[in-house]
Every structure is written in structure tokens, then in C-alpha cells.
Symmetry: C2
């Protein structure tokens, strides 16, 4: 893909968010997004299969990064794999993406259908991670618990990371959340 095409994708994503925030996700057409980015509808559809993809493109790569992290982990117990998955996924959220991620979330939070889509994606991620851990020989219940806990840590960290007052980078927020989960379930508090 030539460089200007990749620029077009980001221009479309940048142009779409303020429109969604002003008029609601359902109140904005693909033609309007393309016009706001100074591009044509045809260019839009070279980058996104539909309007929703403006918000969700990249989630397949995010799932892939969790799975790759687990696949390439050096340890072989469930939490080593989970931690490696979380570490790899953290690379998806550099600080310069934070304003966009924050704006994107306000659009999703305002639209039940988008919330459902996000929930389904996270559920699919947990299921894929469960299968990946089970394929590494981890028993099914432990695999499910580790995978669901991984998604819980990720979601909780993401919510904290996009909070207005949060200055720490994603990896640091996520490490603190994971530490919090360990502390919550430490035997002394059991």
C-alpha cells in the first residue's frame, strides 16, 4: 500500500470521530466522513468495509498480538502466557493514540449496538486465548480462568488509561492493574 493510502486511512479515522461525537454514530454517513477528510467515498471503501470499521479496524491485529504474545512466551504456566499476551498487546496503545482512543470510547459508550460489538470482540478474544492456552497443555478450567483474567486486566487497564486524569503509559497502567489482581487474590485475602 503506498504511503498516501495509509495517510488516507488515518485521515478518515480522525475526521470521523468529531462527526460521531457531534451528531451521534448513526447520524453520520460514510459520504460525510469522506468529505470531512477531503477524500471520496470510493477511497473510504478502499480502507474500510463499512462505517463501523472506522472504529473497529485494528481489533483483529490486537487479538493477534495477544495470541502471538502467548505463543512466543518463554514460560509455560498459564500466568506466564497471560502476562506475555498482555505485554505484547500493550504495544498497541502508544501515548499518541490516547486522545483518539478516548474520543472513540465516548462514541461507543453512547451507542448500544457499538457496545455490543465491543463486548462480542472481547468475548471472542477470551475464547481464542482460552483455546490457545489449552493447546499449550493447560487444563480447560485454568485456561478459561487465565484467559478471562487476561481480558479483565486488559479492559480495566484500558478504561483507566483513557481516564482524563491518567498520565501513565498503557504498559505501566496495565502492570499496576495486574499487580492489583494478584493482590486481590493473594492467599492472605482468600
Amino acid at each position: 500500500m503506498p504511503r498516501w493510502e495509509s495517510g488516507a486511512r488515518e485521515r478518515l479515522q480522525q475526521a470521523a470521530l468529531p462527526l460521531f461525537q457531534e451528531r451521534g454514530y448513526d447520524g453520520v454517513t460514510v459520504a460525510e466522513i469522506a468529505a470531512a477528510a477531503g477524500l471520496t467515498e470510493r477511497t473510504f471503501f478502499r480502507h474500510f468495509t463499512d462505517k463501523r470499521e472506522v472504529l473497529f479496524q485494528g481489533q483483529d491485529q490486537l487479538e493477534r498480538s495477544f495470541l502471538d504474545g502467548a505463543a512466543e512466551a518463554s514460560g509455560d504456566d498459564a500466568m506466564s502466557l497471560a502476562r506475555a499476551a498482555l505485554d505484547r498487546a500493550a504495544g498497541f496503545f502508544p501515548d499518541d493514540r490516547r486522545p483518539w482512543a478516548r474520543a472513540r470510547q465516548t462514541v461507543i459508550d453512547a451507542n448500544p449496538a457499538l457496545q455490543e460489538r465491543e463486548l462480542l470482540k472481547l468475548s471472542a478474544l477470551a475464547a481464542a486465548l482460552t483455546r490457545a492456552l489449552a493447546a499449550r497443555g493447560i487444563d480447560p478450567v485454568t485456561a478459561a480462568l487465565a484467559a478471562e483474567s487476561t481480558v479483565t486486566v486488559f479492559r480495566t487497564a484500558f478504561t483507566a488509561w483513557i481516564a482524563e486524569e491518567e498520565p501513565r503509559p498503557f504498559a505501566e497502567v496495565q502492570a499496576a492493574v495486574l499487580t492489583g489482581l494478584h493482590a486481590l487474590l493473594a492467599p492472605g485475602r482468600a
Copy 2:
């Protein structure tokens, strides 16, 4: 509600499942469910607002039982509240409900719209529990982790409980899953 009415509700639920299993959830009408139970459509709608409620009625009480369990817990740390919520909810799944729960799950697993509905219900449960724990003075991140972990333990236990070969009662399965989560996140494995 007179006793025969409560009997009608259960007859309708019992009659619906084999129909759903044979012809798929979408292939069965309310009239057919009522006829299979030897009742009228009018009686059906005295017990359920729509066809989906045959499968999901009772979930509001289940959510309530989690919240009541947490509200009446004697401890005040997050995991004491979570454990109390899980203990209370276990009462919802006596052994004589297991065949129905198992059949219900096969219907849900075969239908994406029903799966979404179930996912939304569990997500709403986690959100309600998070709010309840935060209202008890638990910090928001810990509240979210404890609530999500509670739902993870419940879901994992439910899946194990309805497995064909599982003989243990729900409370016992769930306690073992919770122990498994503690072991997974014990400091020695961190």
C-alpha cells in the same frame, strides 16, 4: 399468583426446550410452545413478555442474588463480598435444574442472538457488582477486578457444572473454580 399459574410457567419452559432443540429457537412460535404445554397463547403471555423470556426469565433474580449476597456479607474487603455474592448465587442452581440448564445452553449456543443476549446480561451483572462494591468504599479498579473475577468464576463454574460428566453440585464446582483462580494468581506463580 395461584399455584396452577406457577405450574403453567414451568410447563411452558419444559415444553419449549425440546421444540427449540429440534427446530432451532427461531423455528418455534409461541403458539406452538403453548400447544405443546397444553395451554393457550394467552396463558403464555401471562407468564412471559416474549419468547426469549422462556430462556432468560429468572436472570434478574440471579443478578439480585449476587447483589444481595454482596450487600449482606460480613467482611468488607472486595473478595469477601465477591465470595458472598457467589455463595448466594449458587442457590439458584439446585441439581434438579441441571438437565434444563444443560438443554437451555445447547439452544443458546446454537443461536448468535441468544449468545449476545447472555453476554450482555453477564456484562450488566459485572457492571452492577462493580457499582455495588464501589459503593462499599472499595476503590474503582479493585471493585472492577473483583466484580469481573466474580463473573469469570461464575461463568466458568456454570460451564463445568453443565458438562455431561460433572456430578458435583454447583456450589462445590464453583468453590473449586474460585480456589483455582486463587492458585492461578498466587504470588509464587506471579
